[in-house]
């Protein structure tokens, strides 16, 4: 099981928060590094990471992606590969280059899992493998 916390990001009038979990991402030498991700069910990919972190980890480049932002301009971004520890297993995932901070963990990563979020300040976030439950 993977667990994390809900961080308060709102204020007294409109309290809200971010569910975050820490996942270990392997660099090219195989050494793993803890990275905190925001669980984002509106993102249908696996993970995003910043360009700086992708370079530091030495991840291999696979594709070029394109996205249209609110200003109607297309932006290009790199798609990389990485190995992460996920519910006790090592899995290969796609990593989209993005300046999102914290980086995002999306639905492709969560596929096959049950996620529970205690949506309150300091609430627990848990991700369990559906095959194990």
């Amino acid at each position: 099981m993977i667990s994390g916390l809900v961080y308060l990001t709102g204020h007294a009038r409109i309290p809200t928060g971010e569910p975050r979990v820490t996942i270990h991402v392997a660099d090219i030498s195989g050494e793993t590094h803890p990275v905190e991700f925001l669980v984002d069910t509106g993102f249908d990919g696996d993970l995003t990471l910043s360009p700086a972190l992708i370079r530091r980890l030495g991840l291999p480049h696979l594709r070029v992606g394109k996205v249209t932002l609110a200003d109607n301009l297309d932006r290009e971004f790199g798609v990389y590969g990485a190995e992460v520890s996920w519910n006790g297993k090592t899995v290969e995932v796609e990593v989209l280059e993005s300046e999102d901070d914290p980086p995002l963990l999306g639905m492709a990563m969560l596929w096959g899992s049950r996620i529970t979020i205690e949506a309150r300040e300091g609430g627990l976030v848990t991700i369990e493998d559906l095959e194990v439950i």
Binding site: Y7, I28, G42, T48, P60, R63, V67, G81, E121, G122
Partner: protein, 114 residues
């Protein structure tokens, strides 16, 4: 009660209190100081010397179960609403398969080792 808990339980409880409550009450003047927290009540003391903070907390709460952190400032808020960046994205050649990612990683490792 405290003796029955594992270190992992105390760590998790301490981090919860620290991240969800204590960091929002500290100020820039507290940066670099040690924070000793009673993981049950959330009561805490701050001092440049951990032992002094600990002594003050235990004088008030002799049964405290404590966890200590160094305060490095609050996490920063982002203003406005989040626009999830990858929504509506396309990847030339389609999304890579798990097999392709595995092969690319193996190839990159071979190159690094050469």
């Amino acid at each position: 009660m405290a003796a029955e808990r594992t270190e992992a339980d105390i760590l998790a409880a301490g981090q919860r209190k620290y991240r969800s409550m204590v960091v929002w009450e500290l100020t820039d003047d507290d940066k670099g100081k040690m924070v000793v927290i009673d993981v049950d009540s959330g009561d805490y003391e701050v001092d440049t010397v951990e032992a002094k903070a600990r002594d003050r907390l235990f004088s008030r709460r002799p049964d405290a179960c404590t966890w200590t952190a160094e305060f490095n400032g609050r996490p920063e808020f982002r203003g406005g609403w989040r626009m999830t960046y990858p929504n509506g994205y396309t990847i030339e050649g389609g999304r890579p398969s798990r097999d392709e990612i595995r092969e690319a990683l193996a190839e990159a490792r071979r190159r690094t080792n050469d």
